[in-house]
Symmetry: C2
Subunit: 234 residues, 2 copies
Amino acid sequence: MDLDFTNITTIGFDADDTLWVNETYFRRAEDEFAGLLEDFETKNTVDQELFKMEMRNLDLYGYGIKGFMLSMIESALELSNQRVSQQTIGRILQIGKDMIAHRLELLDGVEEVLSSLHGKYRLLVLTKGDLLDQERKLEKSGLMDYFHHVEVLSDKKESNYSRLLEHLEIPVEEFLMVGNSLKSDVLPILNIGARAVHVPFHTTWAHEQVDPSEHYNSHLTLGNLRELLKYVNG
Amino acid sequence: MDLDFTNITTIGFDADDTLWVNETYFRRAEDEFAGLLEDFETKNTVDQELFKMEMRNLDLYGYGIKGFMLSMIESALELSNQRVSQQTIGRILQIGKDMIAHRLELLDGVEEVLSSLHGKYRLLVLTKGDLLDQERKLEKSGLMDYFHHVEVLSDKKESNYSRLLEHLEIPVEEFLMVGNSLKSDVLPILNIGARAVHVPFHTTWAHEQVDPSEHYNSHLTLGNLRELLKYVNG
């Protein structure tokens, strides 16, 4: 495991669940959604069917809250055999709107880490999801001034990262990615020859979970973003 | 009116209704939506109320089909006093999914114009709306190779354009924007000191219509994209 980060000139940060809380709000929304459908199905079935619906719609809708809202509505119709009430549909719309408008909660250490790296590295935000929603969160975060560039990607596969580094003229050997998702922030980055640090968040969306049998290069995992300062020149 | 485009090095194209048909599908969807609600309200009222709902939700949802779907559902609940059937809600979801999956229809002259400008100018796509949806349309269009850079913006105000030109290091006096929307593609561009050509599409969304009393600098309007080749070095 290469822990010598002296070559690094550019550090990319994932946003949701790396800089600020996100997944927690989805979990809460799923809990409320299951409560709305408790006359029809168990929470366990509702959770599973909603997840399947999201996966079925992922190619069409992509990531983000609006697609999640549409999948909740479609699931509610399907799970209830079209018997879910109109009031419940209205309530689902409201759950989603509340998620979009939710106040932003920065994760521990974020401000400290960014302010101590600022000026020493080119700092980027590389996030996926809904463009407007991510721009709004960044605005609310008050972190904009720390970043040289913000890119909202439609997905975080190897090709998305390669294209972006090429476009920004960043050599892979100078790039370090920091994020909470092994699947989106770490593995594709290691596969293109750049380096990545994993900072797990306590909750991971099922879609972001990695098959434990998958082989990958070793990488550094941190308990808290603040520990990053021990490895790079903060 | 300055028709001397000899300084121009970079041409930005809007996408929806400039490179390919878009608004037509929204109009068709609105017609079908009004048909679904004909037991409750006249087409005229449905159209007006849906538009108001879209405007009310625009800050939350931004542009694009998913927000349009969510606004149709919310309008259907409101216009029917919560009496719209579950089957109709399901049908609204399907209208939106069909829009997302619709085959792409290039506008007349697009391929010819791009291929004759390619190599002589830096060509950009500057579009707003849903990131995934716009990427997918560009992919389907087969036009990708003509473009040096594609940017999906959350909005097309002066500040969005200024930031982008600065980021791409394009001097305003070298930039020409081409698009169908006076409000989004022409006026903000003229206001930042760059140049713009208007190529109207036969249908314009009410939100993109400009108050005729608004004053603005004169600009060139073309009947067809192909005529652009008479003014730039095609």
